[in-house]
């Protein structure tokens, strides 16, 4: 039931209170769809939260989830975005194994080339904070895996709709 189709992004404005994530995620669980990522945080107005959910699905499935989410009490607003309509950003913490000084230098050089920030260095690992588009994160993780990855934590993607170019309706 899940994993087919392309990435669909739901950006929800929800009431910021207990049980809302449960109500929303239950819709996916009941229909046996896997949520690829979810990120939640309060908006400028503390009584609401922005919830960004991504899933792999065909257009029809995404449409039906849009209708179900719209109907869900506590979902105030819903915007469905295709990846090309959205500014997408994600953060990951990646702990890369290092094995001796020369190896560490190579890892640090790679991180420097990407322009990411090192947040921890130990005798045998380097932890880097990676931000950007999900594909960028995946590329980085793939390259880092050549050195050996000890651990990864990703936040899940968050999005804002792209502004329309000026002068266009």
């Amino acid at each position: 039931m899940s994993g087919k189709g392309e990435l669909k992004i739901f950006s929800l404005l929800v009431n910021n209170k207990p049980g809302v994530l449960f109500r929303v995620s239950s819709l996916f669980r009941r229909r046996s769809y896997n949520i690829e990522s979810v990120s939640v945080g309060p908006t400028g107005d503390k009584s609401t939260a922005k919830m960004v959910i991504t899933m792999l699905a065909d257009e029809e499935t995404a449409d039906s989830f849009t209708r179900l989410l719209k109907r869900t009490i506590d979902v105030i607003d819903i915007v469905r975005l295709n990846p090309d309509q959205a500014i997408m950003s994600e953060l990951a913490l990646v702990r890369v194994k290092t094995d001796g000084l020369s190896n560490r230098n190579s890892v640090l050089a790679m991180i420097g080339a990407w322009g990411f920030k090192v947040v921890e260095i130990t005798k045998d690992s380097v932890c880097v904070q990676v931000t950007g588009n999900p594909p960028d994160l995946e590329n980085f993780i793939e390259m880092a895996s050549e050195f050996g990855i000890e651990d990864v934590a990703r936040t899940g993607v968050t999005v804002l709709e792209k502004s329309r170019p000026q002068g266009q309706a």
Binding site: G19, T48, R67, K70, R71, T72, I73
Partner: protein, 561 residues
């Protein structure tokens, strides 16, 4: 300022919602609430199982159009409500359930009689709330009644921890409430209505399909006016039965797995279906991909998530059905077109004649079809009938005519055995002057026959007619038809004796074996001040027909074996 407790604030809030009747069973976690009910003027009908309390509240809601209220204690009280609340949810019945909960300090500790009521009810309700302070209580009750009774109606649960019930302080009672993220009414799109009217008027072979939404919204008289103005035949789903009178010349009866011949055939041949408040359930449409073949589907619906869910709509209008139907009526009224003399009208007439010829083959033997027709004759037109689930329900759908909305009460979506009797008791509590008949089977009756106790002690007499084939009849029918007659766990061996059950509960019980005996028993039952259980032996080999086998489409209906 008046000092309230959480419990008295709850009772005051209920009174402000004009609640004068609740169904329930007390328990440890609802003691403060039950204490506050004393002298409140709210009548409490004591059920003997929380499932029955929920079905009673549901039956009350379905006949009255008002919100039915059920009460249960924490833990097992609330889990016993589950089947009843799920039944209400699947049929969009406005029920508010008040449950007790362990004190907030013990939540999540596996305290005595604690379950996660909010978690359990989330997928089977419109909403669940757990007020955490005294001042949350009036707002929660207001919100519960508003949500249950607006938009697509449905059950709401308010779970109140015991310490919240006992807290003392001031309370404010809001007169109105808005809930961010809840927009029950969407204004129908006028252009869409205009387009629907144009399409409808172009159709050569239209049919109107009316569902439970038409009953809930009360829009069926306007839908009938549209049908009459354009001479379009009307079929209903099981949940729509009663929305227009079964005696109306345009009425075809119900479609579906055990639908009427004329309804299923006319729908199959139609080129356009104007569907009003239906959700195209699998038991109504049968084979979904063939259902809409060569047809234009128009869907008028209040719940946007129903559009395109089971059947793709070519055109749809989302909004309150009363408003939508009225606007559509006004639009078609400006245009004249009448199908009275059309070839479609002649074809429908022919199908109806075929259907009647088939019915004439039905014997007048003492079997469910003839018995149901006889009972209809013996009851006034405004009588309410509730059914259980299974063969009894499908026979009632086919052979018991109803003439008005809210007089045919059945568990359509969840198909809950045990629904019939408690729903009848709830209906009687709303309308004590109208005879209430509950048509049940021997299997389902036993599941909730404790409701006889409530009917006896609360003075709520109903007539229970048991089609007693000593079988789980519908399962047995399927085992006969699709499993080479290998019966598996369907024989009930005539246990219990229904007359002794009746006697034990202090109600009348009578076994009838002929039409004359039935008539006599019925006339006595109608005058009786206690419930009458009429036990009617039925051959275990009796099947319900017509029937559309699973996977088949409506036209594949088997009329007789």
């Amino acid at each position: 300022m008046v000092e309230y407790s959480g419990a008295s604030a709850l009772v005051e809030s209920l009174k402000r919602e004009k609640v004068d009747l609740v169904f329930g069973i007390p328990g440890g976690a609802t003691l403060p609430i039950y204490d506050a009910l004393v002298g409140s003027g709210i009548r409490h009908v004591l059920a003997r199982h929380e499932q029955c309390a929920a079905h009673m509240a549901d039956g009350f809601a379905r006949v009255s159009g008002r919100v039915g209220v059920a009460m249960a204690t924490s833990g097992p009280g609330s889990t016993n409500l589950v089947t009843g609340i799920a039944t209400a949810y699947l049929d969009s019945s406005p029920v508010v359930a008040i449950t007790g909960q362990v004190p907030t300090t013990q939540l999540g500790s596996d305290a005595f009689q604690e379950v996660d009521t909010v978690g359990i009810f989330n997928p089977i309700t419109k909403y669940v709330m757990q007020p955490r302070t005294l001042s949350d209580v009036p707002r929660a009750v207001k919100a519960a009644f508003y949500m249950a009774s607006s938009g697509r109606t449905g059950p709401v649960v308010v779970d109140i921890p015991k310490d919240v019930q006992m807290a003392k302080g001031e309370a404010e009672f809001p007169d109105a409430i808005t809930i961010r993220g809840y927009t029950p009414y969407i204004a129908p799109d006028l252009l869409a209505i205009e387009r629907v009217a144009t399409t409808l008027l172009k159709a050569a072979k239209p049919i109107i399909l009316v569902g439970g939404g038409a009953v809930r919204s009360g829009c069926s008289p306007i839908v009938l006016a549209i049908a009459e103005h354009l001479s379009i035949p009307v079929a209903t789903t099981l949940m729509g039965k009663g929305s227009i009178s079964d005696d109306h010349p345009l009425s075809l009866g119900t479609i579906g797995m055990h639908g009427n011949y004329q309804a299923n055939m006319t729908l199959t041949e139609a080129d356009l279906i104007l569907s009003v408040g239906v959700r195209f359930s699998d038991r109504s449409t049968m084979n979904a991909s063939e259902f809409a073949t060569d047809k234009i589907i128009i869907h008028l619906e209040i719940d946007p998530s129903e559009v395109d869910k089971n059947i793709k709509a070519d055109q749809y209008v989302i909004g309150d059905l009363n408003t939508t139907a009225r606007l559509l009526y006004e639009t078609v009224l400006k245009k004249t077109r009448n199908l009275t003399e059309s070839s479609w009208a002649l074809r429908v007439k022919r199908i109806k004649e075929e259907s009647e010829a088939l019915l004439r083959k039905d014997t007048n033997d003492f079997l469910p079809p003839a018995i149901l027709r006889k009972m209809r004759e013996l009851l006034p037109p405004q009588a309410v009938v509730t059914t259980d689930v299974g063969q009894n329900q499908m026979w009632a759908q086919l052979h018991f005519k109803v003439f008005a909305p809210r007089t045919f009460i059945t568990s359509g979506g969840l198909g809950t055995m045990g629904f019939g009797l408690p729903a009848a008791v709830g209906a009687k509590a709303f309308n004590p002057r109208v005879p209430i008949l509950s048509i049940v089977g021997d299997g389902g009756f036993v599941m909730t026959c404790n409701a006889l106790a409530t009917s006896r002690t609360e003075g709520l007499p109903v007539i229970v007619c048991i089609f007693n084939n000593s079988m789980l009849g519908m399962v047995a029918q399927w085992q006969r038809m699709f499993y080479d007659r290998r019966y598996s766990a369907v024989q009930l061996e005539s246990v219990p004796d229904m007359l002794q059950i009746a006697k034990a509960f202090g109600v009348e019980g009578i076994r009838v074996q002929s039409m004359d005996e039935l008539e006599k028993a019925f006339r006595t039952a109608l005058r009786s001040e206690v419930t009458t259980v009429i036990d009617i032996p039925v051959s275990p080999e009796e099947d319900v027909f017509p029937m559309v086998p699973l996977g088949g489409s409506l036209k594949d209906m088997v009329v007789k074996p």
